[in-house]
């Protein structure tokens, strides 16, 4: 055996090289997931409660929605807002599993259910298995964009876009809001509140059948199929109170709606650390290091309980080619 020992050792190196990578495990299966965010000046929203599934199992409401939980929100003034399981309210055949809706008692003033700026809200969830999840958010101050400007590439103001307050839904048809793709810059200007941690932009193409405004040669057909009609930016600090829209976020002609959110810290941390939202894994890392655990700020579970205030505008994009 002595003579063959080096050969056996060498072969064993190769044998160990034929092992298996464990890319999935079940360490975090069955955790409570909270999905809730409050928008200032809007009614208390539905709250989704679910559980984590195995990595290979789709996390759909049917698979992971949590039923039978007790959900409530209490604001800093002690006002309590109870939620009910949507399946109980709307019927099991109509309602998705895990969605909880705010209960508005008969005679209650709907204004009381509007999210107020600067107010603290505490969420408590108790599941049917007696597990407790808690989270807190402080709604940011109102966001009011002062100007939606069209600039040239020298950053000179060319014109101003009209917003919903001025012209309502005519934002999509009036001349001021007709924008040629890539021919100018669109910039939002506002008073930046120092208490707001961060800002985020969402973009929505409202015409589901509109044509592509750009069709780059280096795109394959499946690349076009994967382009969504809505998208969101990463988080911005916007220290100078301006946010500029990049044209690579606009793929279609037709009607567009932009929303700018002033978010709380929970929302900001969530978006900057969830890989599919942040696009992390770039500079300054070893290859593959971008997959990391997000920041959730949920006690007893994972997910998001955040808040934001929002302002928006609409316009129309055309391609002159």
């Amino acid at each position: 055996m002595g003579r063959f020992t080096p050969i056996v050792l060498a072969l064993s190196l190769f044998v160990t090289g034929c092992g298996e990578r464990v890319v999935f495990n079940s360490d975090d299966v069955d955790q409570i997931v909270v999905d809730a965010y409050l928008i200032v000046d809007q009614a208390l929203p539905p709250i989704w409660v679910s559980r984590t599934s195995e990595p290979r199992v789709p996390a759909t409401p049917e698979n992971v929605g949590e039923v039978g939980a007790t959900v409530r929100i209490v604001d800093e003034d002690g006002n309590e807002f109870l939620y009910a399981d949507g399946m109980r309210l709307e019927g099991e055949l109509l309602a998705p599993r895990g969605r909880y809706l705010p209960l508005v008692p008969d005679g209650a003033d709907p204004v009381d259910f509007i999210v107020r700026p600067g107010v603290r809200y505490d969420l408590t969830i108790v599941t049917a298995r007696d597990e407790t999840v808690r989270a807190t958010t402080i709604a940011p101050p109102r966001l009011d964009v002062d100007e939606w400007l069209v600039l040239d590439f020298g950053l000179n103001v060319l014109s101003e876009i009209r917003d919903f307050e001025e012209v309502g839904d005519s934002v999509y048809t009036i001349a001021d809001n007709q924008l040629e793709w890539g021919a100018s810059l669109l910039e939002a200007r506002f008073d930046r509140d120092p208490s707001v941690p961060s800002y985020q932009v969402a973009l929505f193409s409202l015409d589901p059948d509109s044509d592509f405004a750009i069709e780059p040669d280096f795109f394959e057909e499946e690349d076009f199929d994967e382009i969504d009609r809505e998208g969101a930016s990463p988080m911005f600090d916007a220290e100078d109170g301006t946010i500029r829209l990049p044209w690579f976020a606009v793929f279609f002609e037709g009607r567009y709606k932009i929303k700018i959110y002033a978010t709380d810290q929970n929302w900001r941390d969530f978006v900057t650390t969830v890989p599919s939202l942040s696009g992390n894994g770039g500079f300054g890392q070893n290859a593959g290091d971008g997959f990391d655990r997000p920041i959730f700020r949920i006690d007893g579970g994972i997910g998001l309980f955040g808040s934001a205030s929002v302002d928006s505008v609409g316009f129309f994009v055309f391609d002159d080619d």
């Binding site: 990578r21 195995e54 810059l185 500029r244 990049p246 900057t272």
Partner: protein, 754 residues
Amino acid sequence: MRRHPRSSAARTAVRFLLFLVAAPSVAGAADLRGQVVDAETERPLPFAAVRLEGPGDARDILAGTSGRFEAEGLAAGVWTVQVSYLGYLDLEVMSDVQPGAPTDLRLAMTVEAIKLDTIDVVGDRNETEQELQTSLVEIDAETLARIPAFGEADPIRALQLLPGVQAASDLSSGLYVRGGGPDQTLILFDGVPVYNPTHAFGLFSSFHPDLIEEVTLYKGAYPAQYGGRLGAVLDVRSLEGNRNRTRGRIGVSTIAARGLVEGNWGDTTWALGGRRTYLEPILSALRSNDPEIPTYYFYDTNGKLQIPSANGSTELRFYYSQDDLGLDADEGTSVDLRWGNFVASGTHRQLLGENAAATVSAWYSRYRSDTDLSIFTTPIGIGNGLRDASGEATLSWALPPRHKFTVGLTASRYRFAYDEEFNQTTNIDYDANAYDVSAFLEDTWRPTASSSVRMGVRTRYLSDGDRIRVEPRLSLRQQVNDEWTLKFGTGLYNQVLQLVSTEGFSGTDFYLPIDETVSPSRSLQFVSGVEYVPEPEWRFTFETYYTNLSNVVLLNNDVSADRGATKAEDVFRTGGEGWASGIELFAERRAGSLTGWLGYTFGYTRRTFEDVNQGEPFAPKYDRRHDVNVVGRWQREKWEFGLTFTYGTGQAFTPASGRFALRNPATGVTPNLGELLAADFNSARLLPYHRMDLSATRSLTIFGQPAKLSFTAFNLYSRRNDWFVTFDPEDPGSEPTIVQQLPIIPSIGLEVDF
């Protein structure tokens, strides 16, 4: 000393080439030292066998990797110096060795026309190991050139084959030394820091292989003359120039063409070389059919001028490297990425009497990287640069018979620039200066003939934060007998320059200083080792190391897209801690027709950050438990074969531990089937890595000039090793993608000397 029968018979040409070069005397009277070189190329001949016969006891010495040897305490009188080296005619010279300044010989050996089949052991072991330092590795140019390489011979790739040194991937020439990242290794070129010496996005280094004379790596516990990094020091020394005639070399590989010319004007020597890719015509032809073919080229050039003077010499050097990638696609989309280095330096060495010498140096080292993107007409620009203007002075003096002191002062002015622009908005425009003034004092003490102690301290003043750091260093060596030597080293190190490096894409690497908002990173190292040299051609070492890290920083990627952060506390995750520990075994055969080494490392590395992995310790990606390297070189007549084999257990990665459903709060849309949840950071392992490279080199003549034709197979059996794992966050049914590393890559090269 036993001689090969053929060398005894062939002992004919006795050439007296005595170059008396005045050099600092580091010990007392009757010392002899010298360097063995090739008479034609002036290249040093490593591990040449030297025998001294004279008024005292005969001595057998094995020269070092630079061909240098030293003998102290000789009886005064005429000594016979006999030198033998495989493939060369034996050389014998006489030298009158007297007390006072050491006699310095330059022994130029002539190639023997008849190749030897084998070589016997070159003699009884009767020498003392001159090198005090623990964890020191020296590789000569000849060895570097013969290690199978991907396209171009590369000193850094060669170092990755040593125990304790790893590569992150096939696409990275970064050095991961004893559990530290590439940011923890100081890279010097002729003593001057170079900040991003890479080509082709880190595929290989930008050091011209023909212009390298020697590469020295301190893997840990490095001495007081160096500072600024937590882990290791790599010192690349360039060729000095041919003292006899003008000669040169041209070479071509599958990637680049290179040239070298060296010569002399009287006593002044010079060397000049350059290298450039030649793929552009091919890419240009392809681009005419497909505009999306990128343009890419790199080039580097460096030169040295050495001017001797009375009891001294002056050296002037320059180094320049540049990479450029460009791509013009459709719809206002383009990429332009450029990065490069420029170094200009000068050094004057002067003898000050018999026992003292001084060195004065000045240098300017600049690194710059610029990235200009346009994505569907949206412009994005990132630029970063570092300028280092420094002056350094050292003074060495011997206090016979036991002490040698060295003091030094280095003053550096750094200028950092970093700018980011997105869609016509400037997010960051950072421009700052920082100063670093360091002084060191070191005593090399030989209490006995068989023991040495090197004690040193380095004191640094850092302008950012107005800080002073004191860094003690200690190295001990005890020769137990002719065969066994014990070594120990320790030191405290601080680092303020942080390198943010991306594996496989080094063109965007940038440096940021630790400023007054964050404490400098610190490491405390301990190294111990045993060396066993039973015969001159064999060497066995066993070393252990432990490194403790504090105030470690990590780039914080969880930031806003338009962050204007320039303070260290905003850019980095701070307050990290870590440690690394391991053992290394090394067996080397240094002479004979078959030479090479076998290295093994067993090691652990851990880091802890409050905001990473919920504050629990984690393994960095490059934490490998076992690492084995085999390097062999076999010479037979006109052929020379090289083989390397590398095996390493799997690197760390983060698996997925669940899936969850959460809407994008800005759009209200839920990813189709949920989002993967990351498990504990780097808690799983990729498959083990192994690869074999093979080279075959044939010596021939072309138009009467000596030439070498080489064939290399990188990754001979084309194992597609794991590089990293990616997950498709939106499709739970799909398997994760295992991104693989390089397949077999054959290459051919030709070089001709003239």
